[in-house]
C-alpha cells in the first residue's frame, strides 16, 4: 500500500517534469518537445542504429568495468589484508583517484588512438578506484572472529580468503561496484563524444553536428538516463541478496 503510493508519487513527479518540458519547449524552434523525442527514438530504433549505439556503449562498459573489477578486487583485497602493501600503494591511489577520467581523454587518445581502446581505458580508470578503495576498506574491516573461526576449521592462504575474508567483505565490495558502475556509465558517454564513430555519446554529438537534430540529441540523453537507471536498479537488487543482506540486517 505504502510502497505503491511511493511509486505513484515518483511517477507523478516524472509526469510533472515531462509536462513542464513540453510547455516550455512548445515555444522553441530548436528544442524538441517530448513527442518529437519519442518519434526520434522510434525512428532510430527502426533504422537499427539505436541498438547499434546502445550495444557499442554497453560493450565498452562491460569490457572496461569488467577489467576494473577483475583487477581491483584482488588488489584491494591485498591492500586490505597486508597493511604494509596498503601503506605502499595507498598514496599513489589517493593521488590518482581525484583526477577526473575526462582529464585523461587526451592521454588516452595519444596512447590508444580513437578506437574502442580509449573509452575502455577511461572506463577502466573511472571504475577501478571506487572498487579498490571499497574492497580494501571492506577487507580490513572483516571481523577477526570470522577469520579465526575459518582458520580453526582448517582454512589458510587463498582458501581462507575464499571462505571468510571475501564473503565478509563482499557487502562492501558490492557497494563499491555499484558506485564504480555508475561512474563507468557517466564516463562512457563523455568518452564517446570525442572522436569515435559509435555509441550513445557519439549519437549525441553527431546529431548536433549533422544539422542540429536536437530531437535525436535529447533522445540519446533519455536513453542514457534509462540505461543508467536500469543498471543501478540491477546493482541495488544485488545488494538485497543473502550474501550481502546479512551485514545490513540490523541487530539480532
Amino acid at each position: 500500500m505504502i510502497a505503491s503510493l511511493k511509486r505513484l508519487t515518483a511517477l507523478l513527479v516524472v509526469g510533472v517534469f515531462v509536462a513542464i518540458w513540453w510547455i516550455t519547449a512548445s515555444g522553441s524552434i530548436i528544442f524538441p518537445t517530448p513527442p518529437e523525442v519519442v518519434v526520434g527514438i522510434v525512428n532510430l530504433a527502426r533504422q537499427g542504429t539505436l541498438m547499434q549505439h546502445v550495444t557499442a556503449s554497453l560493450f565498452r562498459v562491460t569490457v572496461g568495468y569488467g577489467l576494473a573489477v577483475t583487477l581491483a578486487i584482488p588488489l584491494g583485497s591485498a591492500m586490505g589484508w597486508f597493511p604494509a602493501f596498503n601503506r605502499a600503494l595507498n598514496p599513489i591511489i589517493q593521488l590518482l583517484r581525484p583526477i577526473s577520467p575526462i582529464a585523461w581523454i587526451p592521454v588516452a587518445i595519444l596512447w590508444f588512438g580513437v578506437g574502442d581502446k580509449s573509452p575502455v581505458f577511461l572506463i577502466f580508470l573511472s571504475s577501478f578506484f571506487p572498487v579498490v578503495v571499497a574492497t580494501a576498506a571492506g577487507v580490513s574491516l572483516v571481523e577477526r572472529e570470522y577469520i579465526r573461526a575459518a582458520q580453526n576449521f582448517g582454512s589458510h592462504g587463498l582458501q581462507l580468503y575464499r571462505d571468510a575474508i571475501l564473503p565478509a567483505a563482499f557487502p562492501q565490495i558490492i557497494t563499491g561496484m555499484r558506485v564504480g558502475l555508475g561512474v563507468a556509465w557517466l564516463v562512457v558517454v563523455a568518452a564517446e563524444m570525442v572522436a569515435i564513430n559509435s555509441g550513445l555519446g557519439y549519437l549525441i554529438i553527431d546529431s548536433r553536428n549533422a544539422g542540429t537534430r536536437y530531437d535525436l540529441v535529447v533522445a540519446g540523453m533519455v536513453i542514457i538516463g534509462i540505461i543508467g537507471f536500469l543498471l543501478d536498479t540491477f546493482m541495488r537488487r544485488l545488494e538485497k541478496i543473502d550474501l550481502v543482506r546479512w551485514r545490513y540486517a540490523g541487530t539480532r
Binding site: 580494501a136 576498506a137 580490513s140 574491516l141 580453526n152 576449521f153 582448517g154 564473503p167 546479512w246
Partner: protein
C-alpha cells in the same frame, strides 16, 4: 584411541610477554605448567588480566608462547587446527551462510553421507530442528550460541576451548545453555577447557578448577571437583568449594552476609578494636559505631542504596526497584537542578526503552538533533554527519538536545515511579565498610548529623565527587586530557540548519544539529535547545588556562570571538546565565566494582565531552550495573567477582571512545592522529562507521580497524 586419563594437553613452563604501544613489556603468563587429561573438563578462573585467555589461545594455537611449549597428544602445537575448536562469546558463526552451510563448513573433507548424518545428529542435539535453512541474523543470541556449539562438534574435535562462551547471553539463557552443554558432553565426550570469571559456572561444569593469579598469570590453586553430575549448586560440598575458590581469589564472603542480615548484633564498645575489622581505607565505621549504639535508633535497611540521583544512579535505581528490590536513592540537590551536557546520541533510545521512559521523553518535545558538524582549523572543509545516514543501526535516527534540569528530573521521577525511595537534599557523607566489604552509607538531610543506613549493595553515583574512588585511592585522572570548560546559555542565537545529508522527507520541523568548532587551544560547542535557548561552551587546555589572566567571562568571550562562525551565530543573542567554569579533566578509575559496591557514571569515569558520550554511557553503565546487581541477588553473592561482569561490559565501549578522544586531541594539537575525521569526508564506509560509533554504537565497530581501513598507521598518542 587414547585411554581416558592419559595426558591430552601438556603446558610446559610457558611464558608469554606482550609489548605495548610504548614497547613496554607486559608479562601475561609466566612459567606456567599444567597437564590436562583426555576427556577432562578443566576450568580456568581468575580476575581480568590474569592471562587465562592468553593461556587458552596458546593451547589452541592462536598465540605462540614467548618461551616454553604446549603439547597436544605429545606433539607441539604449531597453530590452530581442527583438533581443537575455540568457542567465544563473540559469536563466530558465519552470517553469510545458513545454519546448515555453517555446519557443513566445519565438516569439510568428510564424506557426504557422513556430513548428512553428523549435521542431523548435532542439529537435533542442540535443538535447532527447523532452523537449518535460517540465516544467523534471524536467530536469537542463545540459538546462535547453539549453532556455534553444533558447528564446533561437527569438526569432531579432540578438544573444545571455551572462552567465556556464555558471556554475551542474559543470565537465564546462560544457565540454560550451561545445562544443555553438560547434557551434550555427557553423550559426546570431549576434553574441555573453559575460561570464565564466573566461579559458579566453573564449579557447575568442571572436573578441576585452576585459580589463576594476575600479572603475571601463574597457577594459584588447583581444586578438584569430585561431585557427580547433575550438580545442584546448593549442595553443601559445592558451597564449600565455592568459598574455597573465592578465598583463593581473595573474595571470600563467608560471614559478610551474616553481618548485613543482622547488623545490630554487631559487638560494640571499647572492647572492639576496629582496626581488626575495618579496611584501612575505610575507618569511617569507627566514629559511627558508638553512636549507633548510644541513640538506640532503629537502623534503616535497604537492599540497595544508590548515592546520587543523576542519570546513572536513577537508571540503576529504576531497574532495581522495578525488579522488586528495596532501593533507596539519596540525592544531594533538589531537582530540577542545572547541569551541562545537553547533547544526546541516537543509541539512547534502547536505553529509554529499557527504562520505560520513551513516551515521557517524546512528550517533552525536546529539540530534535539530526546530526553533528565538526568545523576544523585552517579553514578545512567541515565534516557534517547526519544520524539518518546510519539509521539501520539504531531504533531512531535522531536524538535530542535536552535541558538536563528537566531530563534528569524525568529519570529520577521514573526511579520513584518504579518503586524506589528517593530522598532529595540528602548528602552521603561516607560509605561504611567491614573489611573490604561495603555495608551501607552514612547519610542525612542537609544540616543534620548523618546516620548509618545499611544495605548489602551500595551504588556510588555521586558524579564528579567520586566519593568511593577518592576514598579508596582509585581515582585516576589522565593528565593528557586535562581541560577546563567555560559555558553559558544564550537566548536568540542562530539555529543551524539541518544539513543536506538528511533527506527532506526525514526532517523534522524544528530539528537542528550539534555544532563543534575548533578554536585556538581547544574547541567550542553550540547546542540549540527549546525556548530559543542555546547552550554554548568552550573546552580549553587547563595548562594554558592557568597562565591566563582575566575572568572566565573574558576568556569565554575571547574564545567565542576566535570562531567567526560562532561569533556570527551569537551576534544578536543575549547571554542568560553567567559563565560557569568547571574542570573537565578526564579520568578512568582503577576499578568500578568491589565487594558489595559498584561505581557508575561520572563516579567511575569522566569522559571528555567532545563526542557527547557522557549521558548515554552513564545511563548504559547504570543499566549494566543494575543487571549485575540483580545477578548478585539471585545468587546471594555480592562479591566483586560477580560484579565484574558489569565492569567488563562498560569498560569495553568506553575504551573505544577514549581511543577516539585521544585521536581528536592529537589532531587539535597538530601532533598526529585525527586523519580519520578528515578522511571520513571521502570514504563512505568509513564515514558510516565513524558515525555509528559517534552515535553511541560503540560495540558495533572497532575504532582501531577503522583507522587501519583508512590507511592510518596506529597512532602513538595516549592509551590510558
Amino acid at each position: 584411541m587414547p585411554e581416558r586419563g592419559d595426558v591430552k594437553i601438556e603446558v610446559r613452563n610457558v611464558s608469554k610477554t606482550y609489548r605495548g604501544d610504548r614497547n613496554e613489556p607486559t608479562v601475561a603468563v609466566e612459567g606456567l605448567s599444567l597437564a590436562i587429561r583426555d576427556c577432562e573438563f578443566l576450568a580456568l578462573v581468575g580476575p581480568s588480566g590474569c592471562g587465562k585467555s592468553t593461556l587458552l589461545n596458546m593451547m589452541a594455537g592462536f598465540d605462540r608462547p614467548t618461551s616454553g611449549t604446549v603439547l597436544l597428544d605429545g606433539a607441539p602445537v604449531m597453530g590452530p587446527s581442527r583438533k581443537g575448536i575455540v568457542i567465544t562469546q563473540h559469536g563466530a558463526v558465519f552470517p553469510w551462510l545458513t545454519v546448515r552451510a555453517n555446519l557443513r563448513f566445519a565438516a569439510r573433507g568428510m564424506r557426504d553421507d557422513e556430513v548428512e548424518e553428523l549435521s542431523r545428529r548435532y542439529v537435533e542435539l542442540v535443538g535447532l530442528e527447523g532452523f537449518e535453512g535460517a540465516f544467523p541474523h534471524q536467530l536469537s543470541g542463545g540459538m546462535l550460541q547453539r549453532v556455534e556449539f553444533a558447528r564446533a562438534l561437527m569438526a569432531k574435535p579432540d578438544v573444545l576451548y571455551m572462552d567465556e562462551p556464555f558471556g554475551a547471553l542474559d543470565a537465564l539463557t546462560r544457565m540454560r545453555m550451561r545445562s544443555e552443554l553438560l547434557t551434550i558432553l555427557a553423550r559426546d565426550r570431549h576434553t574441555c577447557i573453559l575460561v570464565t570469571h564466573d566461579v559458579e559456572e566453573a564449579l557447575h561444569m568442571a572436573d578441576r578448577v585452576i585459580v589463576m593469579n594476575p600479572r603475571p598469570g601463574t597457577v594459584r590453586a588447583e581444586i578438584a571437583v569430585e561431585i557427580p553430575h547433575p550438580r545442584v549448586m546448593s549442595h553443601p560440598a559445592l558451597v564449600q568449594l565455592k568459598e574455597r575458590v573465592l578465598h583463593e581469589l581473595g573474595l571470600s564472603s563467608l560471614d559478610i552476609l551474616r553481618e548485613t542480615a543482622a547488623p545490630s548484633e554487631e559487638p560494640a564498645g571499647p572492647s572492639q578494636t576496629p582496626e581488626q575489622h575495618v579496611h584501612p581505607a575505610a575507618l569511617s565505621l569507627r566514629p559511627s559505631t558508638p553512636r549507633l549504639r548510644a541513640e538506640g535508633d532503629r537502623v534503616e535497611q535497604f537492599d540497595v542504596i544508590v548515592a546520587g540521583g543523576g542519570p546513572a544512579g536513577s537508571s540503576a535505581a529504576a531497574i532495581l526497584a522495578a525488579e522488586g528490590l528495596r532501593t533507596l536513592v539519596l540525592e544531594r540537590d533538589h531537582f530540577p537542578r542545572f547541569h551541562v551536557g545537553e547533547s544526546l546520541l541516537p543509541a539512547i533510545w534502547d536505553q529509554f526503552e529499557r527504562l520505560g521512559v520513551t513516551a515521557e521523553m517524546e512528550a517533552e518535545d525536546f529539540v530534535i538533533k539530526q546530526g553533528i558538524s565538526f568545523g576544523f582549523p585552517d579553514g578545512d572543509d567541515e565534516l557534517v554527519l547526519c544520524s539518518t545516514e546510519c539509521q539501520e543501526y539504531f531504533p531512531r535516527s535522531y536524538s535530542y538536545h535536552a535541558e538536563r534540569a528537566r531530563f534528569d528530573e524525568i529519570l529520577l521521577h521514573n526511579a520513584r515511579d518504579k518503586g524506589a525511595v528517593v530522598r532529595e537534599g540528602w548528602t552521603v557523607a561516607d560509605v561504611l565498610f567491614q573489611g573490604d566489604r561495603a555495608l551501607g552509607v552514612l547519610a542525612g538531610p542537609d544540616g543534620t548529623e548523618p546516620k548509618p543506613i545499611l544495605a548489602p549493595m551500595v551504588v556510588d553515583a555521586t558524579g564528579q565527587s567520586c566519593l568511593l574512588a577518592r576514598k579508596l585511592g582509585w581515582r585516576r585522572p589522565d593528565p593528557t586530557l586535562n581541560k577546563v570548560s567555560h559555558y553559558a546559555h544564550f537566548e536568540g542565537g542562530v539555529r543551524p540548519e539541518v544539513p543536506e545529508c538528511v533527506p527532506p522527507a526525514e526532517r523534522f520541523g524544528d530539528s537542528t544539529i550539534t555544532a563543534v568548532e575548533c578554536i585556538p587551544g581547544g574547541w567550542a560547542w553550540y547546542v540549540p535547545m527549546r525556548k530559543n535557548l542555546v547552550s554554548v561552551g568552550v573546552l580549553l587546555d587547563a595548562h594554558h588556562e592557568s597562565h591566563h589572566r582575566g575572568n572566565p567571562q573574558m576568556r569565554f568571550d575571547q574564545a567565542i570571538a576566535s570562531s567567526p562562525k560562532l561569533a556570527g551565530w551569537l551576534a544578536n543573542a543575549r547571554q542568560t546565565t553567567p559563565v560557569r567554569t568547571i574542570s573537565s579533566i578526564s579520568y578512568l578509575n582503577d576499578c568500578f566494582v568491589g565487594n558489595g559496591f559498584v561505581l557508575v557514571g561520572d563516579a567511575s569515569m569522566f569522559i571528555d565531552p567532545i563526542f557527547s558520550a557522557g549521558v548515554t554511557l552513564a545511563i548504559r553503565g547504570g543499566i549494566y550495573a543494575a543487571e549485575a546487581i540483580l545477578d548478585c541477588f539471585t545468587h546471594r553473592d555480592f562479591s566483586a567477582a560477580r560484579l565484574e561482569a558489569y565492569e567488563s561490559r562498560i569498560r569495553f565501549p568506553m575504551s573505544r571512545i577514549f581511543r577516539m578522544i585521544y585521536d581528536w586531541y592529537g589532531m587539535l594539537d597538530k601532533a598526529e592522529g585525527g586523519e580519520i575525521f578528515l578522511r571520513a569526508r571521502e570514504i563512505p564506509l568509513l564515514r558510516e562507521r565513524l558515525l555509528v560509533i559517534m552515535s553511541g554504537g560503540y560495540d558495533r565497530f572497532d575504532y582501531e580497524s577503522l583507522l587501519a581501513a583508512a590507511g592510518i598507521p596506529p597512532s602513538q598518542v595516549g592509551g590510558a
